[in-house]
Structures are given as structure tokens and as C-alpha cells.
Amino acid sequence: MARTGTWLLMLPGLLWLGLLMVVPCLLVFVLIFFERGIYGGIDWQAPTLENVTRVFDPLYLSIFWDSAVIAGLSTLVALFIGYPAAYAIAKAPASRQTALLFLAILPFWTNYLIRTYAWIVLLNPAGLINTLLIWTGLRSEPLTLLYTKPAVVLGLVYSYTPFVILAIYSALQRLDPSYAEASRDLGAGAFQTFLRITLPLTAPGVAAGAVFVFVLSIGNFVMPNLLGGGKFQMVGNLIYDQFLSARDWPFGAALSALLIALMMLLLFAQAIASLRARGDHART
């Protein structure tokens, strides 16, 4: 096919992405350097650096820090749950692996508001868990489970564990089983083989899953609103407020820019790490 032909095929799609993704994202970066208008909107006559400095105010930095802690915790728990599950799937008979993996990822494709709502049903004071606790006599009063930070972490873990399983499974599948066999032949125990051979060689998969969970968690505003009851702020809520209630778009844009910068840094670090891991692998 002629070059102009392939260009014509790509043109509508690339234009759509350029005009409706690249341009709007660039616009967000431009917004940062202007003052908000009196009735919301932007005052294009008043360029300023104030939004940039305001983002680094300790108040907002602490919200970033809190969000990072919640996202980090969710990531660790999701890895802890997901790794053994992915390992079990990878060790299952080959004929069953696809079905097992499919079963693990299926919930990921359903509406996440509904999956979050399911936890509200389970966790609320008159919910199933509290009723069970009281019925079995373990507690006399209902526990406060909903609208807490652990509830937010639980919701995030629940939402993103399927992806961790997927990422680690594909790393385990690429792993050459002869490495582990060699290790066992040379006298290492099963646990030592896992710790010194399997785990380091699947590290890129772990990193990919971890970055994904962290990035999706830190910018999430639905979980803190629904399972946290809006009682504490995460970056996602803060950005949401600037755009939909405070109507301070330039400051919201500045917060988003910091969030994106943080994510780019993480994705970049992960890309470098996985390239390096591949390089090491090639040398050995």
C-alpha cells in the first residue's frame, strides 16, 4: 500500500487523539500559570506563579503524602494477596490455566461503583459482617468498619488485585522452569529456590502490577468518597473539589500536574528497571 494510503487510514484516529487528548492535556499545563476568574473560569490577563507555589504548601503536601501512604498500603496488600494466587494459577495444569486466569480477571471488568457498593452492604453498622459478629456473640456492639481508612484500602485492594494477578502470572509464565530445576538439583530447598530464583526473575511483573495499583489508587476519588465517607481527603478528591465545587481550575490543574509528574516518574523508573532486568537476563 502506498504511504499516503496508510496515512489516510491513521489520520482520523490520530487527529481524534491529538485534538481531544493531547491538546486538552497541554491546556491543563497552560492553565496552571493563570489566575482563576472571579466567577470561576480563567483570567487570561493575569499570569501568575502562585498556583505552583501553593501546591507545595505543607497542607497540600500532607494530602499528597496521606494519599501515597494509602496507595502504598493498598499496593503491598494487593501484591501479598496476588502473588501466591498468580503462582498457584501458573502451577496449575496447563489446560486449566486460561479458565482460572479468566475467573480471576472477570470481576475487574464489571462496574467498579457496584463492586464498591457491595462492600458498603457488607461493612455498614447494620451490614452482614456486623450482624454475623453480633449473632455469633463475638461482639455486643457493631464495629465501625465503614467510613474508615482501612475500608478505603480494602476497596482499592479489592478493585485492583485482579490486575496484580494478571501481571505476575504473565511474568511467571515467561520464566524458564529449568532455572528452578537447576537450583533444586544443586541442593537448594523449595523456599530458597523461590526466594533466590523465582522472585528476582519475576520482579518486573511485580513492579508492573505495583505501579499500576499505586497509580490508580493515588488519584482515586470514588473510594475515599464512598468507603471513606468523604471524611478525609485524597489527591483525587482535592482535584475534584477544585474543578466541581471550589471552581479554582488553575489550582486544580497545578495539583493534577504534580500527580501526573509523580506517575511519570514511577512509570519511567519501572520501564528502566524492566529494561535493566531484561539486559541482565540476556547476559546470563
Binding site: 490520530l14 487523539l17 481531544l20 473560569g41 501466591p84 461503583l113 457498593y117 458498603i120 452482614l128 476519588f221
Partner: protein, 256 residues
């Protein structure tokens, strides 16, 4: 090994139990999560009598249909073009970005952009926004199929005198059809479930409220048995669509 399998079963329990509880409760006559009042379709009846929910479901259907139609055409053409041109790192980045960009970032960027160019918000602006990420997913699914496509078939067709258009409709499309359909189903599922971007680009009013927006509004008020019924329906539809997409895609789950 036995401990590992036990762990896997526990993980499946963790993933499916909340969903299962919701589904069971949707048939509970008492409407309470704690007392079984007998099997009933009462809440499904209430749901279908609620004009706000029906309206929102209709809006979601309209948005998902348009977004799917546009993104399937643009995404498939894009895939055909990309697979036949020289690799380009920046183009790959552009095609990958919509899949990883956080929803909230795309949402505020589009809201700012639409407001700046004084574009009226409504269902159509949600469609435009949804095409951005759907396009990338359709393109990825179709490209995966094109990797194993034998381009000499096209040359043979052209040599035998068929036009480029005839070759596309009689050779290429039938061969990549299942992947295109799988991409379309994936786009439809993503679009009908999408909440954050729709929430920001919908503008005000019930006339542009989609089903996830309606669900969000209801959940914030607390637990009502109607949501259980709706959740069961929505999940049923999603599961069927994903199963169909997986079948079409030769057993490969979209995204794997």
C-alpha cells in the same frame, strides 16, 4: 502446593463473595441485608418503575452505542495503518497513553477544553470523550490480530484486479472481523461502565445522566435494595459481553 491452592480458592472467595451477596440480596423480599424474607422479584419491579433509572440506562445505551460505533471504525482503520507503516516510538506512546492516563486527568482536561472552546456539554460530549480511550483499546485488539495477518493475500487480490476497497471488504475485513467485533464489545463494556469522565463531561441535568452517574448518586444516599437489583442486572450484562468478546478473540481475554 495444597496451601497455594487453598490460598487461590480464598482469593476467589474474596473476589466473588461480595458480588454473590449482592446478587442474593437482590431477590430478598424483606430488602434487608440481614433478614431473609423470601424469594421475590419485587425490587426488579421497583427498579423498572423508576423513570430516573430507566432514563439513565437509556442514556448509557445511547452513549455506549455511539462511542462504540465511532471508535470501532476509527480504531480499526488506525490499526490497519499502523501495522503497515514504519514503527514510530512517539506514535506508540500516543496510542498507549489513553489506556494508562488516569480517568480524572482526562476528565478535567476535557472539561477545561470543552469549556474554553464554549462547546455545549451533554450526551454528545460524553461520546466524544469516551471515543478517546475506546479508540486505543479497539486499535490494540485489532493490531494483535493483524500481527499474524498474511499481507500477501492483499497483493494477490490486487494482482487479480480487485480495487483496494473491494480487497478490504472481501479479504481483510472477513479475516479480521472477529477481532474488530471483540474490540467493539470491549469498547461497549468500557463505555457503559465508565463513570468519572462521563461525570465531568456530562454537564448539568438529568437529561445527560448516565447509569453509573445515577448509581453513584444513589449509593451516596446509602443502601437501598433497588441498587442490589440494578447491580445484578448490570453485572449480568457485563459478564455476558466479556464472555462473548473472549470467545471472539480466540480465548484471549481483552487486555491479556
Amino acid at each position: 502446593m495444597r496451601a497455594l491452592n487453598g490460598w487461590l480458592i480464598a482469593v476467589y472467595g474474596f473476589l466473588y463473595l461480595p458480588i454473590a451477596v449482592l446478587m442474593v440480596l437482590s431477590f430478598n423480599h424483606s430488602g434487608l441485608p440481614t433478614a431473609w424474607g423470601g424469594f421475590s422479584f419485587e425490587w426488579y419491579g421497583k427498579l423498572l418503575d423508576n423513570p430516573k433509572i430507566i432514563g439513565a440506562a437509556w442514556n448509557s445505551l445511547v452513549v455506549a452505542t455511539w462511542a462504540t460505533a465511532i471508535s470501532t471504525v476509527l480504531g480499526s482503520l488506525l490499526a490497519l495503518g499502523v501495522e503497515r507503516s514504519r514503527p514510530s516510538a512517539s506514535r506508540e506512546a500516543l496510542l498507549f497513553a489513553p489506556m494508562i492516563i488516569p480517568d480524572i486527568v482526562l476528565a478535567i482536561a476535557l472539561l477545561s477544553f470543552f469549556t474554553l472552546i464554549k462547546f455545549t456539554l451533554g450526551l454528545h460530549s460524553i461520546v466524544i470523550a469516551h471515543v478517546v480511550f475506546n479508540l486505543a483499546f479497539v486499535c490494540a485488539v485489532v493490531r494483535a490480530r493483524l500481527k499474524s495477518y498474511d499481507w500477501s493475500l492483499n497483493e494477490a487480490s490486487r494482482d487479480l484486479g480487485a480495487t483496494a476497497v473491494a480487497t478490504f471488504f472481501r479479504i481483510t475485513l472477513p479475516l479480521i472481523g472477529p477481532a474488530v467485533l471483540a474490540g467493539a464489545l470491549l469498547a461497549f463494556t468500557l463505555s457503559i461502565d465508565e463513570f468519572i469522565i462521563a461525570y465531568f463531561t456530562a454537564g448539568a441535568g438529568q437529561s445527560s445522566t448516565t447509569l453509573p452517574m445515577q448509581i453513584y448518586a444513589m449509593i451516596r444516599f446509602g443502601v437501598t435494595p433497588e441498587i442490589n437489583a440494578m447491580a445484578t442486572l448490570v453485572m449480568g450484562v457485563s459478564f455476558v459481553m466479556i464472555l462473548a468478546a473472549q470467545r471472539l478473540n480466540k480465548g484471549r481475554l481483552p487486555g491479556t
